[in-house]
């Protein structure tokens, strides 16, 4: 036991010396999903992040990118490799909450910083919060709460709600119900990865719902929307932005037109940082950015703003610099709540067609300066 801790101490001393030699250089390890089913999200986060780094032109920032294949075990291996042999100072990039839960607590416990460009599981916002963990996107419940807020303002009184039967799906329905004041016409949990919603649509038809709330990320949402549009039902649908992002909309087509969805970002938010981002992203990659790209872009800019203020070797000062969030967010106003999760406006968007491209337009604000309910559980 003593031998082990001696070796560990020696290793840490060497690691510390390495960091000191590197002076103010910051090495970022990005673990994200670049292959397989959910690759579109990871690619957008990576492209947004790299674009911000390129635009800043800061030579002190070094970035290593690796593909986690959406598998928790691979994400953990990559994190170990990045911390131990690549000696990164900051980790980022994880898309999925289950992968974040596998990587983040261990990384922050080893004194590394973790900046989340997407996943915001409640466990990391409440009791499991950490001074080195910063979420730049949202707490997982936020967009669903905003959908509930929109349902109230639109006067919905009898919603049919559905989500996949896994933690994020259960959180989604809880988040919607937390804000939504009306009654429920039905509450259905679907199978994770389910692609056929004929049975759920038949239940919606048989209920007397006046609105539908759904959280079905990725391909599940594409299937649901196409089948819903073909069913002849005409009840208003609302959901979080995940089923309506730039990458997915083109596959849904006309079936998505007019659907309301909630998001903390859209390409038409009017501020100079966002304009510059949307133009630069299109020029660099030849496609419209998604909300994931904006999250990657903001994450990099947050890091760059902290690097200007403090040396990463001085963890206390660097934490203070991150907490200030002194960067021009593509979302406009952006600040951190006490648990290092964003306080921000969440908008209602409508799916429209611009020329040949399906995209979103902001039609209102669902929740202003919205924080999260886990702040009080977090003790740092």
């Amino acid at each position: 036991m003593r031998m082990k801790s001696l070796i560990a101490a020696a290793c840490m001393a060497v690691a510390g010396a390495g960091a000191a030699n590197a002076e103010s250089k910051v090495k970022v390890g990005m673990i994200t999903t670049l292959s397989g089913g959910g690759a579109g999200l990871g690619i957008d986060v990576r492209d947004g992040f790299l674009l911000a780094a390129k635009m800043a032109g800061n030579d002190d920032l070094e970035i290593v990118v690796e593909d986690d294949q959406r598998k928790p075990d691979i994400a953990v291996q990559l994190a170990d490799k990045m911390i131990q042999s690549e000696k990164v100072d900051v980790l980022t990039g994880i898309i999925w909450s289950n992968l974040a839960m596998a990587v983040v607590p261990a990384a922050t416990a080893q004194g590394k910083f973790y900046l989340s460009p997407n996943a915001g599981p409640s466990a990391l916002a409440g009791k499991g919060c950490h001074a080195n963990y910063y979420n730049v996107a949202w707490q997982n419940d936020n967009l669903h709460e905003a959908a509930g807020g929109y349902a109230n303002s639109a006067g919905f009184e009898n919603s049919f709600i559905l989500a996949p039967n896994y933690p994020a799906g259960q959180d989604a329905l809880t988040g919607y119900k937390r804000i939504y004041d009306g009654a429920l016409a039905g509450e259905v949990f679907t199978k994770l990865g389910q692609k056929d919603y004929a049975s759920e649509i038949a239940q919606i038809r048989a209920s007397d719902a006046d609105s539908i709330f759904f959280f079905l990320p990725g391909g599940m949402g594409i299937s649901f929307l196409k089948q819903y549009a073909d069913s002849g039902l005409d009840i208003p649908v609302v959901g979080p932005a995940f089923s309506f992002d730039q990458g997915i909309l083109q596959a849904v087509g006309d079936a998505a037109l007019g659907v309301k969805n909630t998001s903390q970002w859209n390409k038409d938010i009017d501020n100079p940082a966002n304009k510059a981002f949307v133009e630069a992203f299109q020029a660099e990659y030849g496609r419209l950015p998604s909300l994931y790209a904006s999250q990657g872009f903001d994450t990099a800019n947050l890091l760059l703003s902290a690097m200007d203020k403090a040396d990463i070797g001085d963890a206390e000062a660097f934490r203070a610099a991150l907490r200030e969030a002194d960067f021009d967010s593509t979302r406009g106003d952006f600040e951190f709540a006490a648990n290092n999760h964003p306080v921000q406006d969440i908008y209602v968007r409508e799916v429209i067609k611009e020329g040949d491209v399906y995209t979103n337009k902001i039609i209102g604000v669902a929740l202003e300066d919205h924080s999260n309910v886990y702040v009080d559980e977090c003790e740092m």
Binding site: S35, G36, G37, A39, G40, I43, N165, Q170, L173, L184, E187, V188, F189, T190, K191, G193, K195, D196, A198, S199, A202, Q203, R205, A206, G218, G219, M220, I222, S223, K226, Q227, D230, S231, G232, G247, I248, Q250, A251, V252, G253, D254, A255
Partner: protein
Amino acid sequence: MTIILFIEQVLNGIQFGVMLFLMAAGLTLVFGVMGLINLAHGSLYMVGAFAAAAVAAATGSFLLAIAAALAAAAAAGAIVEIVVIRRLYARDHLDQVLATFALILIFSEGVRWIFGSFPLYLDIPAYLSGPVSLPGGIEYPRYRLALIGVGLSIAAGLFWLISRTRLGVRIRAGESDREMIAALGVDISRLYTIVFALGAALAGLAGALVGAIQSVQVGMGEPVLILAFVVIVIGGIGSIKGALIGSILVGLTDTLGGVLLPEFFRLFMDNSAASSTGAALASMLIYILMAVVLVWRPQGLFGGTA
């Protein structure tokens, strides 16, 4: 639950079942005739869907898209059989599983390389969209009715092919004794390529038909592949009739279980808890069905005595 909702759910179950049959038929033929476990069958389903989406985007014609799906999947199947699978017949099942698993990875990344990571667009044609009114006041999507029709006619066609044609005779002979029919002068490797391409074409057709109402994306085939394996285990390996009955059974069990179980739990639980317990149990139902069938008839419903 009203009787109309129940009938609608039965139709949904049958529709799901016949699409599963298209997948399971190819899988069971390949397993029965060649003794090969083909994990890459789901990739052929994906190839069909992507070919259909690409051709539909280029020409706007759904029928051409379906033809392209059949052709692309059959071609991919034939090439894979000649290049890779042919070397695996004599090997044990573990080698086959490893090699065909490698094929899944190659197909997935290959398709991602050609078409990108974002899902593709494939929609149902205008003449099949919208609901149709059935007797009894049931509103049912026209396209799903068409799927049931297509699936059942293909099942009938397959029965005719297997029981009435020369190719069918050879397939059945190959199933019972492959050395003997080779000794009788049948070109066994050509027969295997044809059977494999036929199975692949059916999988590709299922991918294209289902892709139009679901999403066309990398990795879409694997969840269906697992269900198709459940179907052929229930139906009996190598039996087309077993695949059909097994598919319909799995389709109905899955659909009706997903609807009825939460309703059942609502009788004595609150709404949220009933939904999540019911959904959790419903997703196990087909595996419970499989276990029950295996206890009762270890060779499957229509399997020969092994």
